[in-house]
Symmetry: C2
């Protein structure tokens, strides 16, 4: 199996360039790198020979010479990505060019604590690797996104409000019980932001990803890099106040956007509407399913239910109000919204946009685009694999 | 006169290092640069000979060898810095190591338009240069901070609310009428942030500077660089809503922090308190001076006037409320507050702190420091000179 530990610093730079381009033509690689064309070509030839790079299927003949696109070789091994949410988990095996080879998602409750949740994650990892015909030693690195604030250096959660049992637990040591590969941990929405950064091949430099699910969080990309803040808690927008007279949040303050507009608030209002007889559809769902969840409200809204639509619009307006402050401060080029809320569809997005454009300054919103995360439900898994690959490459670079 | 255009790329890198260190020992320069010690020493010797660097006064003998600190040579020329506010302007001549050689400040009204204001700026520049015995051709570069959103590439203001006549006016062309040096324009609080970044020798990577004067703005330092946003309007925090039922702002929205807590709001409330007979001191000031300004309220507050203190505390609480949102989002290590508000003293700062610590998450504020800008009233002028020097060095680097 080819190992990149033997590569030179300039070869690693080229490797990084190929990774962030997903696949790239030899021409573009040679001209896009900071090396001379002949030096880049020689390095590429060497890396092809060592099996670190490989040609993709597409070969186009141009003017007699065989041009070809390159990608990271499948022979390098696989990446493991984990997207842990408050109420579900997803594990995936990905090729070095981030093709998803196998994945599985299922409900999970992070409040069961790290021992239970992570042993299930490890079992799924082994199972999925087997499905792909890969072995634990083939794993290049593991990336995991978690729904709480992370100290990035130690890879540990710090006072996570949704998962107190995980405070200062070493996810790294836990996963290393089965795998010798390096483990990288980050906040779930930072990981989604990293995934979108990769998808756009770093084409956007300053954008935000907002995740709305059980909580509300924000991933920040600044000057083309994920920005984590002085203590790793940057993007903690769920506790921005949108109504000083609003209900009390678990953080102790009144009127946080999270307590008023995240998944549980939407489900709670839908339950109240069902019980108050404001919606036959929500009432029927409640009777059939026992409880209403965000996805039920999304389904009712898409079906045109008036009460569900009012709840969705109110949540969108409140989240837009929070976003207006953030947009005035940060002036991003794009805001991508992801998480469970994405299932609602265009109505929620329209309410958010209206609220932001109403409250933000003209200059901040002149070219602002607000849309759902293009990677959709895969943003977390892809992002976790990008984290794994990016940080592994940094480790190798650092050792040069 | 020595010219750095002739320097090599690695010499420029060393020059940049010396500039950001203010002054630096030869030892520290050789070890702090990415070059080998012998290569760095040779380059330094050459730059001393060319008169680009010079030893500072302090020479310390250590172990028989003469150690010495270095700075950018006075022979390189001078920098011109301009800090333009809504109601005043300041012009300074600075040495390449940012020692202030001459400066002058006076009231000015930006609403008089660029032609009038900038002709006064040019007159002051000529006068101050003469005072220093310098000539227009000695000017290395000019930096200017202006109280509105700037398109950094073109150096032009874009829809500035406080100075509409300046929209798309070319400050560069205007100042170039008298000086052939390059002119760099940025928003006033970005310039202050750059000044503080230089003062700390880039020791802090992620911090904010809030300016409270006629308006309220924020300079953002991210990953050790000033962050200007997708359209140059990042940090426009004055229009973050702190009270949905508050008064209407000139931007059209209700309850913006600027309309409720900036200098004019504080002066307006003080006038009302004086007229309502709530403060003998404010009434006396109003009678004597005809109008009350922020500095009058500051003076009354420092004298212990109860009505002035209540006004100051309310403004601090509102600005703190806005800052709490910003701190939750950005998780800076430090927030520095500058502008006219700085004259009020500790009472205002205490109100801001209380409000931020009350509303922000524990993790965001665990190590957060909130203080007045250490450069104080010089932040704008120093920052403008840093802008001039930094961008000039980039021009030279770009030409290599």
């Amino acid at each position: 199996m080819p190992r990149w530990n033997d590569l030179s610093a300039s070869e690693i730079t080229l490797l990084d360039h190929v990774f962030w381009s997903s696949s790239i033509s030899r021409e573009a690689l040679a001209t896009g790198s900071s090396f001379s064309k002949s030096r880049a070509n020689a390095a590429v030839a060497g890396m092809l020979e060592q099996g670190v790079l490989e040609p993709t299927g597409e070969q186009v003949a141009t003017g007699g010479r065989r041009a070809g696109t390159l990608r990271l070789s499948r022979g390098l091994g696989v990446l493991l990505g984990v997207a842990l949410g408050a109420t579900g988990l997803e594990v995936g095996v990905l090729a070095p060019d981030l093709e998803l080879l196998a994945h599985h998602s299922e409900p999970a409750d992070v409040r069961d604590g790290p021992a239970i949740v992570l042993s299930r994650v490890r079992a799924l990892m082994r199972e999925l690797l087997k499905q792909c015909g890969a072995k634990p030693r083939d794993v290049i690195a593991i990336g995991i996104g978690v729904p709480g604030p992370v100290d990035f250096e130690s890879g540990q959660l710090v006072n996570p409000p949704l998962m107190p049992e995980w405070d200062a637990y070493s996810i790294r040591d836990d996963l290393r019980a089965d795998f010798s590969a390096p483990v990288f941990v980050d906040n779930d929405v930072n990981v989604m932001a990293l995934g979108e950064l990769w998808r756009m091949q770093r084409g956007l430099q300053n954008f935000l990803v907002i995740k709305v699910g059980t909580g509300i969080g924000c991933g920040i990309v600044c000057h083309g890099q994920v920005y984590r803040g002085a203590n790793g808690s940057a993007g903690d927008v769920g506790h921005i106040c949108v109504d000083p007279a609003g209900p009390r949040c678990h953080c102790g303050n009144l009127g946080c956007v999270e307590v008023m507009a995240a998944g549980p608030a939407i489900a709670r209002e839908a339950t109240a509407a069902a019980l108050a007889g404001q919606s036959a559809l929500l009432k029927q769902m409640l009777t059939e399913r026992g409880v209403l969840k965000l996805q039920d409200v999304a389904q009712a809204s898409r079906a045109g239910d008036v009460a569900a639509n009012a709840i969705v619009q109110r949540a969108g307006a409140l989240i837009g109000q929070m976003l207006a402050s953030v947009v005035n401060f940060y002036n991003p080029s794009h805001v991508f919204i992801g998480g469970g809320i994405q299932r609602i569809g265009p109505l929620f997005l329209a309410a958010v946009r209206q609220s932001v454009y109403h409250r933000s300054l003209a200059l901040s919103t002149r070219h602002l685009e607000i849309q759902y995360t293009p990677l959709g439900e895969r943003a977390g898994l892809i992002g976790a694999a990008v984290l794994a690959m990016q940080e592994s490459l940094k480790l190798v670079e650092g050792a040069k």
